[in-house]
């Protein structure tokens, strides 16, 4: 897994490449924790280059969005492939996270 971060206006765009699973989740969590500590309040997670997400990855996203919303911020997510979309639907995450088709769409009005 590889994570890159870019500030676009007031939004912190986090692009993940690889998988969000048992082995990569601790590192992903550290990355998000670092952003939260630095005071990021609008985070966009782009998954266009994510191959699959397991429950370990969902756990990271849920922990991040919970902390973020408690601090008055918000999180958007984009670029889910069909399998990640399926994982989101089965787990109910598609109703608790703001999901957008592309990064550009997610940035609009954020």
């Amino acid at each position: 897994m590889n994570v890159t971060t870019q500030e676009i206006d007031s939004v912190t765009v986090v692009r993940i490449e690889g998988n969000l699973d048992t082995n990569t989740s601790p590192e992903a969590q550290e990355h998000f924790d670092g952003l939260l500590e630095k005071g990021a309040s609008k985070i966009l997670v782009d998954c266009e280059k994510v191959d699959y997400v397991s429950s370990a990855g969902l756990r990271v996203l849920l922990a991040t969005v919970k902390r973020l919303t408690a601090a008055g911020g918000s999180l958007r997510i984009s670029g889910l492939n069909e399998t990640v979309q399926e994982v989101f639907e089965i787990s109910g995450f598609s109703t608790i996270l703001a999901v957008f088709a592309t990064e550009a769409e997610a940035l609009k009005g954020f």
């Binding site: 048992t22 699959y52 997400v53 370990a56 969902l58 492939n81 399998t83 994982v87 109910g92």
Partner: protein
């Protein structure tokens, strides 16, 4: 649980055997993928990389391949974290069998008897604040696979999963 195959299952076994033996073609034999893991979390990565190679070689549709990746991550993680009462090294056997219509995955371990599919599915309709994530992994497995079953056989937990493959040319 049944220790012996029923009539219908036996017929299936014979059919598979016939395919594997017809002319002894290596092409057919290679459609079985088997890997032995030890109970360390980084073994999941090794399994998924090897499975991806197998999927590439045999043109397994990408959706089915990714479902396999998720299922391996969930179930092997569960086995490693919960099945063993000691600190000893254990072997987890993974086998994948592919034919034109389906992918059959078998995962077995010598841990304490545990049927992952007996657990209650989580309430996925809860709001953000109420959500915990217990049981979510198995819930994903149950929904991403077309058939799931558990057997305790000769001191091992045996989980069998079937994923139906889309017809060729389908998405």
């Amino acid at each position: 649980m049944l220790r012996f195959h029923g009539e219908a299952e036996q017929a299936d076994d014979i059919a598979i055997l016939a395919v594997e033996c017809s002319g002894g073609r290596e092409e057919e034999l290679r459609r079985v993928f088997a890997l032995t893991l030890t109970n360390r979390l980084d073994e999941i990565e090794r399994l998924n990389e090897a499975f991806n190679e197998f999927a590439d070689e045999h043109a397994i549709p990408v959706g089915a391949r990714r479902s396999g990746n998720v299922v391996f991550d969930e179930l092997i993680n569960n086995v490693i974290n919960y099945a063993f009462d000691d600190d000893a090294e254990h072997r987890i056997e993974v086998r994948v069998e592919l034919n034109d219509q389906r992918l059959v995955i078998t995962i077995s371990d010598d841990g304490s008897p545990f049927n992952p599919f007996q657990t209650h599915p989580p309430d996925t309709a809860l709001s953000l604040d109420e959500r915990g994530l217990g049981g979510l992994g198995v819930h994903l497995v149950r929904n991403m696979m077309d058939e799931v079953s558990y057997n305790r056989r000769t001191g091992r937990n045996v989980v069998t999963l079937v994923k139906y493959l889309e017809p060729k040319g389908g998405r």
